[in-house]
Amino acid sequence: MKEYKTITEIAGPLVVVSDVSGVGYNEIVEIMLPNGERRKGQVLDVSKNMAVVQVFGPTAGISTTQTTVRFLGETMRLGLSTEMLGRVFTGLGEPRDKGPRVIPKERVDITGLPINPFSREMPNEFIQTGISTVDAMNTLVRGQKLPIFSGAGLPHNQLTVQIARQAKVRGTGEKFAVVFAAIGITHEEASYFMRDFEKTGALENAVLFLNLADDPSVERIITPRLALTTAEYLAYEQGMHVLTLITDMTNYCEALREISSARQEVPGRRGYPGYMYTDLSTIYERAGKVKGSKGSVTQIPVLTMPGDDKTHPIPDLTGYITEGQILLSRDLHRKNIYPPVDPLPSLSRLMNSGIGDKKTREDHKGVSDQLYAGYANGRDLRSLSAVVGEEALSATDRRYLRLADEFEKRFVQQGPYENRDIEVTLDLGWELLSLLPEEELKRVKREHIPKYMKKKYTL
C-alpha cells in the first residue's frame, strides 16, 4: 500500500497529490487528517507523477503538509450479502442503524459492467401498482426503468411509497425486495419513508442507503451506485425481484455539476457536464431482466424538475434514457386530485409488451388509447369552451368535456391507500367511455364494446 504526504493543491472537493507512482485510474484513496479523521476519495485523473483525487466528504481540515494520502490499489467496491436486507446504510455504505457491520459474501466494483444487450430478456411481466393512471395508461413492467417527474411541493413521496407498498405481479406470490437510495433529501423526508416502510413491514425486505441533505454532496455520486450494485446482487445472484427507488436524481445531477466545475471542465447545457447523458445512463441502464436469472431490477427514480420545466437538462436527459416517465402535474394537484399523474405527457415505452390477453385483459390497449384520445380532446375543448362558452359546442364536444372532467375526478383521483385491481381500473375506464357516443369509439375493438361496457356512467 502506498502512502504519500505530497498534497500540492486543494480546490473544492478535489485534491492534487504529486510525486505518486503506480496509481490506477478510479482507484480508491484514504485520506488521513492531522486530527486522525479518515476520509475516502477516488482518483479522477492520473498521470506519471500526479493524481487528482475527488474526496467524498468535506475537504475542510485537509492541509498540504500534515495530511497523508493512502492509495488502496482497488476501485470502489461494496461488500454484499443477503444480510443487508432490513438494514440502513449511509450514502457510502457504512451501517447507519445501530446494527453490526455486514460480513460480505463477495465484494463487487460499484461502477458495474454494461449488460450485454444480447443477454437481456425483454421485460414483459405486468406489475400492478394499484394506481389507475399507471396500470391502465402507463403500465410498469418488471425490468423497466420508469422515473417520476415531479416538481417541488408535489406529492411524489406519497406516490413512491404507495407504489412500493402496493406493487405486485399478479398470480405469483413473489414479493419484491426494495432497495431505496436517498440522495440529498431532508431528514424529514427520509424519516417519512422509514416510518412507512416500518409500518407496513416492508423494511424487512428492504435495503436503505441514505445520503441526506447535510451529507457531503460528492457522496451523492456513490449512493445510487451502491444501491444498484446491491439490487443487481439480489436480483441476479439471489433471484429476487428488486424494486429500486432512487430519490432525488436532481440532487445527484447537482453534485455532478459541482464536481465538474471544480475540475474546471468545459460545461455543457446550463453548466452541467457534457458527459451527463453517459453518466446518467450508467445508472438508469442498470435495470432489466437477463438470461439465465430469475430475478429482475425495476427502477423508479424520482426527480424534481426545476421550475416544472420538462426541457431542463435533468428531466430531458433522463427521459432519453428511461423507458417513459410518470409526470406529476401541478394543475391537477391544485384541483386537489391525488395522485396528480397527468397521463398525457406520461408514457411507458414497455407497456405494449406487458398488457393484453393473458397478461392483463384483451381490451387493455384499446381502452387506454381511447381514454388518451378522449381526455386529450376534452382538455383541448376546455380552452375552447372558456372562450366561446359551453353552449356553442356541439353535443358530442360537450360529452368530451364531461369525459375529461369525470376522468380526472373518478379515474385519476384515488386514495393513498386505495389499491385498484386492473379489472376494476379497466371497468372504470369503460364506464367513463360510455359517456361518448359509440361511433366515437374508434380505438377499441368493436366486439369489445358489448362485452365490456357493462355499466353506463351515471353523473
Partner: protein, 583 residues
C-alpha cells in the same frame, strides 16, 4: 515486433489515455495496458499519442504497456455478417456472452467478428484465366435464405485458379496475379471504417424507398439512396418509426445501429426481428439484417465508432448490388460522444460544447448515402439510404445537431409530442415536415401507381394546410360560426388525419400499407370530399352528410385487404350521396 510499436501510458482521464508511443500513426488501433483494452489514436503530439479507449479504463495505471497494431480501425467483411449483432467496434455480442460466461460485458474481451470455423458453400462465377477488375464478383455464397453474398475481388488482375466448394472464410479459394505479383483470394476482406468505399458514379434520386408508411410514402417520400432525418423529443415515437421503416421498407438489406440508446429497446429489436416475417419471401427479417447495438452505458468511444462501423457494412452490401437501408438511432448520441471525447481532449468547443468539426462529420456521414454504380468492371447498381434519428434536447430543433443535420438531409420528418399525446401515430407533423425528393419521384409515381396520384396528394396537403388556418378561427369563435363549406373541410381533414395519416404499427394489416392501397385509400377520401362539396352546392345540409353511415366504413378501411373492397366502398359512397340528393 519493432521497439517503436510499443510504449507506455502517461496519463489517464476517463476514456482518454495519453501514451508515449513514438512513430505511431494517427487512427491506428492500439492495445492499452495489461488488460489489453482496445483503443484508437486520435491525436499525436510529439512522441505522445492521445488514445480514445473503447472500454472502461478503471484500474489502468501509468507505465503500463501500450502496443500498436499498426492497423487503422476497420471492419471485417465477408459471409456471416448478416443476422449478427455487433457492438460499436464490431465485436459479436453473442460470442462475447459465451466468452464472458455471463450477462455482463467484461473488459479486454476480444472476439473475431466473423465465425472462423463456419463452412460456407462457395460457387465460383469466374473462370480460370479471366481478367477481373477491383469489385468484380468472383463467386457467391448463399449466406441466408434471403441473401446471396457476392464475394468481390479486392484486386485487379488475372485469375490463376479458383474453385467452388466448401470453405471457411480464411481458406484460400483461388489466386490472382497482377503485374507479376500473386495474391491469394479468400472470402474475407477488411475496410477502414472512417473512409467511404469507392464508387464509379452517383445518381440522382428517382426511385422511391417504399416504406409502407402512408404519411411518408404519400406526403414525404424518401428516395433510394436518399437521406432523411427524424428529430423529435423523447416519447414522440422516433424509435417506433425507425423500427417500422427497418421492418417494412423495400430494401434487401437493413443495417440498424442502436447508438447510445436503451438496452431494453435493443432487446426488443433483437427479440422481434427473428420473428418478423418478410412479407415477400416468408422468411424471418433477421436474415437480411445486421444489428449494431452500442447502448448508452457501453463505452462512449465505441459509440462514436458505431456509426462508421454500420455505414461501412452498409456500403459493402451496396457494392454487391443491393439496396440497403441504414437506420441510425440516434445521431445525437453519436454527436454527444464526439463532444465528450472532445472535452476530454481539452479541445476548444464550438456551439453548445460540441466540437467545431461536428458539421463536417455529420455531412461526411450522410454523404455516404447514395444510389451508385458500384466499383467493378461489370455493370452493377446499389444504394444506401440513411435515416437518422435526432434527439434534440427538449425537442427544440434549433440546437447544433438538428441544424447541421437539416443542412445535409433531404427529408425532414418532424415528430410532434402533442400528436403523440393524443395517440396519433406515427406522430409526424404534416405541416412541419418536408421532402426534397417529391419532384424527382413524380414520374415514378405516375408511371407505377396512377397519373392522378400526385395531384390528389397535393390537394390533400392543401386541405390540411387550410385546416390549420381554420382551426385558428375555430379557437376564437367555435366551429359553428364557420360557413358550411369550411366546416366540410374540417370534416374531410379529420378523416384524412384519423383514417389516413394515423397508422397502427401494431396491427397486422395496417402496419405496412402498399402504395396501391395508399392510392385507393386517398382516392376514397378524395371522392367523399368531392361528393360532399358537390352536395352542399345542391343545397344538402352538412349535418345530413356528417350522419352518413358510410363514414364509419371509411373509418375502418385501414383493415381492408383486397382492392375489390375499395370498389365496393366507392359504390357505397356514391349510393349514399345519391340517396341524400333524392330525399
Amino acid at each position: 515486433m519493432a521497439a517503436k510499436d510499443e510504449g507506455h501510458i502517461e496519463r489517464i482521464s476517463g476514456p482518454v489515455v495519453n501514451a508515449y508511443l513514438p512513430g505511431a500513426r494517427l487512427y491506428d488501433v492500439v492495445r492499452v495496458g495489461e488488460a489489453k483494452l482496445l483503443g484508437e489514436i486520435i491525436k499525436i503530439v510529439g512522441n505522445t499519442s492521445v488514445i480514445q479507449v473503447y472500454e472502461d479504463t478503471s484500474g489502468l495505471r501509468p507505465n503500463e504497456p501500450v502496443e500498436s497494431t499498426n492497423q487503422p480501425l476497420s471492419v471485417e467483411l465477408g459471409p456471416g455478417i448478416l443476422t449478427s449483432i455487433y457492438d460499436g467496434i464490431q465485436r459479436p455480442l453473442a460470442v462475447i456472452e459465451e466468452m464472458a460466461g455471463g450477462v455482463f460485458i467484461t473488459r479486454g474481451i476480444n472476439a473475431p467478428p466473423l465465425d472462423r470455423k463456419k463452412i460456407w458453400e462457395f460457387k465460383a462465377t469466374v473462370k480460370k484465366g479471366a481478367k477481373v477488375k477491383v469489385g468484380d464478383v468472383l463467386g457467391t455464397v448463399q449466406e441466408t435464405d434471403l441473401i446471396e453474398h457476392r464475394i468481390m475481388s479486392p484486386h485487379e488482375g488475372k485469375i490463376d485458379d479458383i474453385s467452388s466448394g466448401s470453405f471457411t472464410i480464411q481458406d484460400v479459394i483461388g489466386t490472382l496475379s497482377h503485374e507479376g505479383k500473386k495474391y491469394p483470394l479468400t472470402m474475407v476482406q477488411r475496410w477502414f471504417v472512417r473512409k467511404s468505399r469507392p464508387v464509379i458514379e452517383k445518381f440522382p434520386p428517382t426511385i422511391p424507398l417504399i416504406t409502407g408508411q402512408r404519411i411518408i410514402d404519400t406526403f414525404f417520400p424518401i428516395a433510394k439512396g436518399g437521406t432523411a432525418c427524424i428529430p423529435g423529443p423523447f416519447g414522440s415515437g422516433k424509435t417506433v418509426t425507425q423500427q417500422s421503416l427497418a421492418k417494412y421498407s423495400d430494401t434487401q438489406i437493413v443495417v440498424y445501429i442502436g447508438c447510445g440508446e436503451r438496452g431494453n429497446e435493443m432487446t426488443d429489436v433483437l427479440k422481434e426481428f427473428p420473428h418478423l416475417i418478410d412479407p415477400k419471401s416468408g422468411k424471418p427479417l433477421m436474415m437480411r439484417t445486421v444489428l449494431i447495438a452500442n447502448t448508452s452505458n457501453m463505452p462512449v468511444a465505441a459509440r462514436e465508432a458505431s456509426i462508421y462501423t454500420g455505414v461501412t457494412i452498409a456500403e459493402y452490401f451496396r457494392d454487391m448490388g443491393y439496396d440497403v437501408a441504414l437506420m441510425a438511432d440516434s445521431t445525437s448520441r453519436w454527436a454527444e460522444a464526439m463532444r465528450e471525447i472532445g472535452g476530454r481532449l481539452e479541445e476548444m468547443p464550438g456551439e453548445e460544447g460540441y466540437p467545431a468539426y461536428l458539421a463536417r462529420r455529420l455531412a461526411e456521414f450522410y454523404e455516404r448515402a447514395g444510389r451508385v454504380r458500384c466499383l467493378a468492371g461489370e455493370e452493377r447498381y446499389g444504394s444506401v439510404s440513411i435515416i437518422g434519428a435526432v434527439s434534440p434536447p427538449g425537442g427544440d430543433i434549433s440546437e447544433p445537431v438538428s441544424q447541421n443535420t437539416l443542412r445535409v438531409t433531404k427529408v425532414f420528418l418532424a415528430l410532434d409530442a402533442s400528436l403523440a399525446y393524443r395517440r396519433h401515430f406515427p406522430a409526424i407533423n404534416w405541416l412541419k415536415s418536408y421532402t426534397l425528393y417529391a419532384d424527382g419521384l413524380e414520374e415514378y409515381y405516375s408511371e407505377k401507381v396512377s397519373t392522378d396520384f400526385t395531384k390528389m396528394i397535393k390537394n390533400a396537403m392543401a386541405l390540411l394546410q387550410k385546416e390549420a388556418e381554420l382551426q385558428e378561427v375555430v379557437q376564437l369563435v367555435g366551429p359553428d360560426a364557420l360557413p358550411e363549406k369550411e366546416q366540410a373541410v374540417l370534416m374531410v381533414t379529420k378523416m384524412l388525419r384519423e383514417d389516413y395519416l394515423q397508422q397502427n404499427a401494431y396491427s397486422d394489416v395496417d402496419a405496412r400499407c402498399e402504395l396501391k392501397k395508399q392510392y385507393n385509400m386517398l382516392k376514397t377520401i378524395t371522392r367523399f370530399g368531392e361528393r360532399t362539396n358537390a352536395s352542399l352546392d345542391l343545397g344538402v345540409q352538412l349535418k345530413r352528410i356528417s350522419e352518413l353511415k358510410v363514414k364509419a366504413t371509411i373509418g375502418r378501411m385501414k383493415e381492408i385487404k383486397e382492392e375489390k373492397e375499395f370498389e365496393k366502398l366507392a359504390k357505397d359512397i356514391d349510393a349514399s350521396f345519391d340517396d341524400l340528393l333524392k330525399r
